[in-house]
C-alpha cells in the first residue's frame, strides 16, 4: 500500500506516470466520471483550509466517489481527547482513502504507519505540502512542456515558505534547473537547503534582493506572500515591500514566455492588473491542483 507523505516519496518515473494520467484527465474528463464509483475519501482536516480541502473533495466527486470528513479539529472526536492513531484506525475502517491535514509536523507520517488505507499528507504545519508540489510541477509541465532546462525564480518569503522548500527539493531531481532566489535578507532560504540541495548536487543558484534585478532572466516566477511581521524592523519592510509586488511595470522587463505561479492565497504580492496577462498561470494552477489530486487518488486506490 502506497501513501504520499513527502514529495520525494515518488520516483521520477512514478511522477511521470502521475502527470500523464492527470493530463489524460484534463483532455478526457468524461472518461473518468465513474473511475471511483462506490469509493469513499475522508478529508480529515485538523487545521482549516479552504482551497486544499475543496480541491480534494471536488477531485473525488468528479471521479464519481463520495466524501466524508471534518474541516476543523473542534468538530471531531479530537476534542474528546482521541489520538490521531485511534482516529485513523477508526476512519480507515469506513473509507478507502484518507487526506489528512494536521497542525503538527510529521502528523500524517505518523498516521500513515497505522492507516489501513492509503493516506495523503494534505499539509502538516510548516513542514510539507506534497500535493501543492505536485500541482506546481504539473503546472510547469503544462506551461513549458517539460520540467527541465529552466531558470526558476522564487520570490518572497523563502525562509518560512514550505511550498518553496518542497518545490526546490522536487525540482532538484530534474536536469539543468537554475534557481534565482529573490527575497529580503531576513527571509532568505535556510542554510540547510543550500547545503543539502544546492551544494551537494552542484545546482546553480543566485540570491538577489530585488525582483527587478532578476525578472528578465526567468522562465518561471514563483511568487509567495511576504508578511510584514516577518521583518525585524519597519524601515526594512517599507524599503523592500514594493520589490516583492509583481505589477505590469516589472512584467515589462520579463520574457514573453515567462510563467507566473503562486500557491495562493494572494494578498498584494501580485497586482490584479497582472491577472489578465497570458503569463499569469496561478488560476490555471489551482485547477491543475484538482486534476493532479484526481490522478493521485486513482493511483493510490489502484483503480487504473
Amino acid at each position: 500500500m502506497k501513501h504520499l507523505i513527502d514529495p520525494m516519496d515518488f520516483s521520477l518515473k512514478e511522477l511521470e506516470d502521475l502527470f500523464e494520467l492527470a493530463e489524460d484527465i484534463i483532455e478526457n474528463e468524461d472518461d473518468f466520471r465513474h473511475a471511483c464509483d462506490h469509493k469513499i475519501l475522508s478529508t480529515l482536516f485538523y487545521e482549516p483550509s479552504t482551497r486544499t480541502r475543496f480541491s480534494f473533495e471536488a477531485a473525488m466527486l468528479r471521479l464519481g466517489g463520495q466524501v466524508i470528513g471534518f474541516s476543523e479539529a473542534s468538530s471531531s472526536s479530537v476534542m474528546k481527547g482521541e489520538s490521531i492513531l485511534d482516529t485513523i484506525r477508526t476512519v480507515g475502517s469506513y473509507v478507502d482513502i484518507i487526506a489528512l491535514r494536521h497542525s503538527k509536523e510529521g502528523g500524517p507520517k505518523f498516521a500513515s504507519q497505522y492507516s489501513p488505507v492509503p493516506l495523503i499528507n494534505a499539509g502538516d504545519g510548516g513542514h510539507q505540502h506534497p500535493t501543492q508540489t505536485l500541482t506546481d510541477l504539473l503546472t510547469i509541465r503544462q506551461a513549458k512542456g517539460q520540467i527541465s532546462d529552466l531558470t526558476v525564480g522564487l520570490c518572497g518569503d523563502l525562509k518560512f515558505g514550505r511550498t518553496v522548500h518542497s518545490l526546490i527539493k522536487a525540482m532538484s531531481r530534474y536536469e539543468n534547473i537554475n534557481f534565482v532566489l529573490i527575497s529580503p535578507q531576513e527571509l532568505q532560504i535556510p542554510e540547510y537547503i543550500k547545503m543539502e540541495i544546492f551544494n551537494k548536487k552542484s545546482i546553480p543558484f543566485a540570491e538577489v534582493e530585488r525582483l527587478e534585478d532578476a525578472v528578465e532572466r526567468l522562465d518561471i516566477l514563483y511568487m509567495t506572500r511576504v508578511q510584514k511581521e516577518r521583518f525585524f524592523n519597519e524601515e526594512d519592510y517599507i524599503r523592500l515591500k514594493d520589490s516583492y509586488i509583481l505589477n505590469k511595470d516589472k512584467l515589462k522587463l520579463a520574457k514573453k514566455d515567462l510563467s507566473i505561479l503562486h500557491p495562493l492565497p494572494r494578498v498584494s504580492e501580485i497586482s490584479y492588473e497582472v491577472d489578465d496577462d497570458s503569463r499569469a498561470w496561478y488560476f490555471r494552477q489551482v485547477k491543475y491542483g484538482m486534476y493532479i489530486r484526481m490522478a493521485l487518488i486513482m493511483k493510490l486506490l489502484g483503480v487504473m
Partner: protein, 142 residues
C-alpha cells in the same frame, strides 16, 4: 589496581569513555539486575588514558546498536568458557528509537500519546540525525 574476577560466560562492555559507564549501566537496567554485574570506573587505558568498563555475568538481551548511539567507541566482548568468542565494535546506528526525544514543539511527538521518538542517521561523519517525523536535525554528542 582494583581486581574483579573474570567471568566465564557473559558480556564485557569495554572502552567506555570515562564517566559514561554509569549512564550506560542505568540505560541497560543493570542497576536492577539480579545477576552478577560490575561497573568499574576510571580504569587505566593505553588508548584513552582512562576508561569505564562493565562486566555482566550472564548473556542478556541487549540492543547493541543502541549502545553505539550512546557511545560508538565502546567495544563489546562476548565471553564463553572464559574466552572472548566475539568482539563487536560499535558505530553510530542508522536508526535510533526511544533514546532521545525530539525537542521541536511543532513536531507530532510533542502531542501524540505513546509515540516512539525515532531518528535517522543522515551524516555518519558528523554524527547528524534527523527526526523521522519533522526532519529536525540533531547532532550526536557523547
Amino acid at each position: 589496581m582494583l581486581n574483579i574476577d573474570s567471568i566465564s560466560k557473559g558480556i564485557v562492555i569495554d572502552h567506555i569513555n570515562a564517566g559514561y559507564g554509569y549512564s550506560i549501566f542505568k540505560y541497560l537496567g543493570l542497576d536492577k539486575a539480579d545477576f552478577a554485574v560490575a561497573l568499574i570506573m576510571n580504569v587505566p587505558s593505553k588508548k584513552f588514558g582512562k576508561k569505564d568498563l562493565i562486566k555482566i555475568e550472564n548473556v542478556i538481551d541487549v540492543d547493541l546498536t543502541m549502545l553505539g548511539f550512546i557511545d560508538p567507541n565502546i567495544t563489546i566482548n562476548i565471553i564463553e568458557d572464559e574466552k572472548i568468542v566475539k568482539k563487536i565494535n560499535l558505530s553510530l546506528p542508522e536508526r535510533v528509537e526511544g533514546i532521545i526525544e525530539c525537542k521541536n514543539p511543532r513536531c507530532i511527538t510533542s502531542e501524540e500519546r505513546n509515540i516512539v521518538h525515532k531518528f535517522i542517521l543522515i551524516d555518519k561523519e558528523n554524527g547528524i540525525y534527523k527526526c523521522e517525523y519533522c526532519d529536525q536535525i540533531y547532532a550526536w554528542e557523547c
